[in-house]
Symmetry: C2
Subunit: 374 residues, 2 copies
């Protein structure tokens, strides 16, 4: 499914294509977050217009509402949300640990109460697979054990080993349930765990590679560890993953971080930053194109808080290099006013802009890998 098209001559960065039932993804690629089957404020037509290739939806939220059976009855998420391009779903594990009430964790899985109405729901590696088959995502993630960043090393080993067993159970479940999916040929990605401990990370990566999964994710980072640890572990893991499979850094990050991860040879990214920042009025602005992409904060872009009073009278566009609706039709002063008035159009235009910024960033990255500048 994954084809390595080109490797950078100056870094470990890769240009690839990942083929799915709903289309081929050009990598490196960023996936905006459609937690509840919608990238907040945007329509599928908007997403296509600004070049979004794939969105990420959250299995936990869709399991709470509408639920497994209802999702299958609706024909899966592609049909329901009117999105015919690829979808990646997480396993639901992360949100069970961060959102649900009254969890009980065992080797078998997790019993929890929905954060919406307290309904009792079970999540196990098998049930996560079943839910992701009901959603029909193109890329499914295995369920893993998510730990707080301050967990001790023994707990961290237990979690890593349990995650490995859950990866095997996920693959085994799929082998006997392929026909249950609403989408043909769903890919299954494993998640490398092990905190900031290279020994654990190596064991995790090697065991997952032995399972011959469709792709590999680097999990358990961007959860509070130092930036140094984050980059060190990401590079350590990336360098141990096979060249012929896609690599996915979960939950990161700022533009310069994505540039850094790409240079380590990572292909896929997701993050709430562009969408969430937009809803709070924080906008990404590209510097002129003679500022080359780099892994230094703000080197090739800056951020702008539209609520600052200086923008109230600014009759210029947010980003003169940008081709989104906001930048081609409206001024900073109008967006400032929309945010001041709490008009929904403000959040919507800002979201489209920030997602478009990330899409343009990835376009520059892909061109850079091809031309030998990234």
């Amino acid at each position: 499914m994954f084809t390595l098209k080109k490797r950078s001559i100056i870094s470990k960065a890769r240009r690839g294509e990942f083929k799915t039932t709903h289309g081929t993804i050009q990598t490196p690629c960023f996936m905006p977050i459609a937690t509840k089957g919608t990238v907040r404020t945007l329509s599928p037509d908007d997403l296509k217009r600004i070049g979004v290739q794939i969105v990420l939806s959250n299995t936990y939220h869709l399991l709470c509402r509408p639920g497994l059976e209802a999702m299958r009855e609706r024909g899966g998420l592609h049909v329901w949300m009117h999105w015919d391009r690829p979808i990646l779903t997480d396993s639901g594990g992360y949100q069970v640990f961060s959102l649900a009430k009254l969890r009980k964790v065992t080797e078998d899985g997790v019993m929890f109460q929905s954060h919406i109405d307290g309904a009792k729901i079970e999540l196990s590696p098998e049930r996560s697979m079943a839910m992701q088959q009901s959603i029909g995502s193109d890329i499914m993630m295995q369920m893993d054990v998510v730990l707080p960043p301050n967990a001790n090393s023994l707990t961290m080993r237990d979690a890593m080993e349990c995650s490995l067993r859950w990866a095997r159970r996920s693959k085994k479940y799929l082998q006997s349930h392929r026909q249950d999916s609403v989408t043909d040929d769903q890919a299954l990605f494993g998640i490398v765990q092990g905190g900031v401990d290279e020994t654990l990370r190596r064991e995790s990566a090697e065991a997952l590679i032995d399972l011959d999964l469709d792709g590999y994710a680097i999990g358990g980072l961007s959860v509070g560890e130092s930036r140094e640890d984050n980059l060190r572990v990401a590079e350590f893991v990336a360098s141990r993953l096979p060249q012929n499979k896609p690599r996915y850094f979960m939950g990161g990050g700022m533009p310069e971080e994505i540039v850094a991860y790409v240079k380590m040879g990572i292909d896929l990214f997701d993050c709430v930053i562009p969408t969430r920042h937009a809803r709070h009025g924080s906008l990404f602005v590209m510097k002129p194109f003679n500022f080359p992409l780099s892994n230094v904060e703000g080197s090739f872009y800056k951020t702008l808080n539209i609520s600052n009073t200086e923008h109230a009278t600014a009759d210029i566009s947010i980003d003169p290099t940008c081709d989104c609706t906001l930048c081609t039709q409206f001024s900073r002063s109008y967006l400032h006013y929309l945010f001041d008035m709490k008009e929904i159009l403000g959040m919507r235009l800002a979201t489209e802009h920030n997602v478009r910024f990330y899409m343009r960033l990835m376009e520059r990255i892909r061109m850079g890998v091809e031309s030998g500048t990234v």
Copy 2:
């Protein structure tokens, strides 16, 4: 500016064209509300796509923010909100009476405190004209005195007479200040007042007609009077207005009411119903086209509350006769879910649909007048 194209053979309904600097409006026409320079949740591109000819913005709100000087510095509302079709602005009077704090009303005008920050602002017939010139609307409304529906007849006469004097002052101000506008050839409409008293209404209409304004509005209705009074007074006033000027019913109404007003010979309408109902999940659904337009509630359409549980599993479109984004791409169950999850996309899709419903209603009305069925 107004051309009467055709008169119905079965009612007093008229097909007309009203020419403005920003384009020609085909009447009868409905104007969605863009209170603060945006039809809530929708972009100007959306509005054009669904056939909106003209929007209504509120002078009071724009006077509070961004203010008269700032609006002029921004180049007027068309430039600022990126809308190159016509705009109508009310005078600001209505909101001063309904929203502002601590009003002091005199023959000269009104001193009030902004509902946003308590800032002291003055509104007079002249200042309303100046603000509407700074906005650059294509159709300006005279400032009038707005009374609660239970006012006594003496107060009602005073208000009507004061409104007439304010109409004269508005016209006089414009004659010496035409050059202050950011838009060429702004039209000025007078507002017929007088409550439910036909004597007062006749006096008001005749005096305004003598002023030879560009169009005439029927004000002071849909403010709590009985439906019988509403229709009686609307018809009484409409029948006394000149054929060669556009007629505007302010603030109404439901689809069957608009049909009724059209049959009285009224040309322009505005109302919060389509947009506000949409944000509360109430959607208009056209019945099959063999249900003819009429002035009976729900005769040719029905309303649907998307939050009702019956829609949670409905894999059908909201309105199979409708060509909007919602109806062509999504199911009732998905919209139900978006509202359940309080996702902004739900309000946005519902708003586009309801406004499109009103646009289709007006298209049917215009065709009906031409073909002799309305």
